[in-house]
Symmetry: C2
Subunit: 209 residues, 2 copies
Amino acid sequence: MDSKEISPVVIARLPRYYRYLGELKENGIERISSKELSGRMKVTASQIRQDFNNFGGFGQQGYGYNVDYLYEEIGKILGLTKKYRMIVIGAGNLGQALAGHSAFERRGFLLTAIFDIDPKLEGKKIHGIPVTGMGELPGFIKKQGADIAVITTPSEAAREIASELYQYGVRGFWNFAHTDLHLPEDAVVENVHLTESLMRLSYALKTLE
Amino acid sequence: MDSKEISPVVIARLPRYYRYLGELKENGIERISSKELSGRMKVTASQIRQDFNNFGGFGQQGYGYNVDYLYEEIGKILGLTKKYRMIVIGAGNLGQALAGHSAFERRGFLLTAIFDIDPKLEGKKIHGIPVTGMGELPGFIKKQGADIAVITTPSEAAREIASELYQYGVRGFWNFAHTDLHLPEDAVVENVHLTESLMRLSYALKTLE
């Protein structure tokens, strides 16, 4: 199976399946039919069966899906069985909040360093990890490597820092800066543009009137 | 013009147009052609013209678009000329980060209160606004109202709190809890599921291998 051939629309639904299955597991539910899952996911049952067929099915006709098994398999597809070394760039409010988010750690995203340009923050511990000056960045990555950089700097700085990180070998970027990063094709960028999200909410509120 | 008839795909692109136009304004650029905008947006020029035609055009053939005008008009469509009273539920790291984000304030999203269930946080000032106990919530909303609630509580609490807020009259929900809210149809929910975003990044990194 070459997972590259799966449609991006299906892939985009996987984290949500994974979340629902995690909730079912926590509630001690061992089996679920595509119909029940459909009610929770607000996706049709036939859509769910089609989605899962992309990955070889997972279910037995009439018995529903084994929740544990499905959870594990989707986790594998999403690459969650791996460990990622994650560094946070920018130790402001958002950087601190993301650095301290224990749910990420549980999923295998391990915070290994936090960098900031402000010398006043240097040495300050955030969830046990000291903030390091930006000057240490090249040496740190050369020595320890990093799989994912979480960018929480102001927009103006973000592009330049991302390009630097790319040169040092970082390929995964979780971008919270209010701008797009311009990186070569073998880098992957996942954007979280909070202000745009708030604008969509604003628009939706307007349509209620 | 009834903005409700515009396709959600076009609407979804508007915050990004708005962001680019804001960057152009900051750089003192007064006019831009659909071709130049296309290069920046990574959308075809004809797509841009089609998108803008939904809202009556904005451009003159051969002269390009007036950046200021376009920025203002898209802002109006998105409802950004209004002021929203925004309350944050949950004064943890993420709640504090969102409460202190001055860019939201500039766009008209005014933080009016922060609530938390933890009595130890009560009275603590976050960017000038004291954290208030959850017991004060009904009285506060009855007196001052609230347009948007930012939900940063743990998943288990989020649904119940959102239903309560709905009963008090809140209709806009910016949900950061790792769960879906179940609310009546006249509520609007914009989800920011950070863990799912990180899983998409994980999947994308896996496809690089």
